[in-house]
Symmetry: C2
Subunit: 96 residues, 2 copies
């Protein structure tokens, strides 16, 4: 197994992808806990359910972070929007 | 600002969400670099473009990780599938 062995290189990249996917899952799990806490706070104290100004600032910041990390900002925004929409659906489902 | 101040609590949760979103973006950026490297390897060495067995194992593993982290495994699978599909689209777009 040498550096130039393509199957060994493939296996190394896949091992990294598996590690990165584990980070993604655990980060999503923690993010979901935080948004659940936000939902509970808003329900308890009758706070407004959404804050369009915040959402706009979040997206702008994430696009900048993506650009700095050499990730396509449209790709980043699409994935984050998908996560946000799925989180809303699942919170609604959890409330019944 | 006390523990019971709901707006202070909300601000703390939002700061955590912002940190977690930064982790998500940077992890996606690194994952994209890895899948780009895999694509280049496959093109150079004429390896098969997809490996359905691997994808099945990835999904099963991620569902288990999600369950262990108290994240809904269907939610986790949906998000990861979205990421995988978007990655494929963007790699195709990058190749032209």
């Amino acid at each position: 197994m040498t550096e130039s062995d393509p199957l060994a290189q493939l296996a190394r990249h896949r091992a990294s992808i598996d590690n990165l996917d584990a980070i993604l899952i655990h980060t999503l799990a923690e993010r979901f806990k935080q948004t659940q806490a936000v939902g509970a706070l808003k329900a308890t104290y009758d706070l407004p359910p959404s804050d369009p100004g915040r959402e706009e600032r979040q997206i702008a910041r994430l696009r900048q972070l993506a650009t700095d990390a050499e990730l396509n900002p449209d790709f980043a925004e699409k994935v984050l929007n998908f996560v946000i929409q799925e989180v809303i659906k699942h919170h609604h489902a959890a409330r019944g």
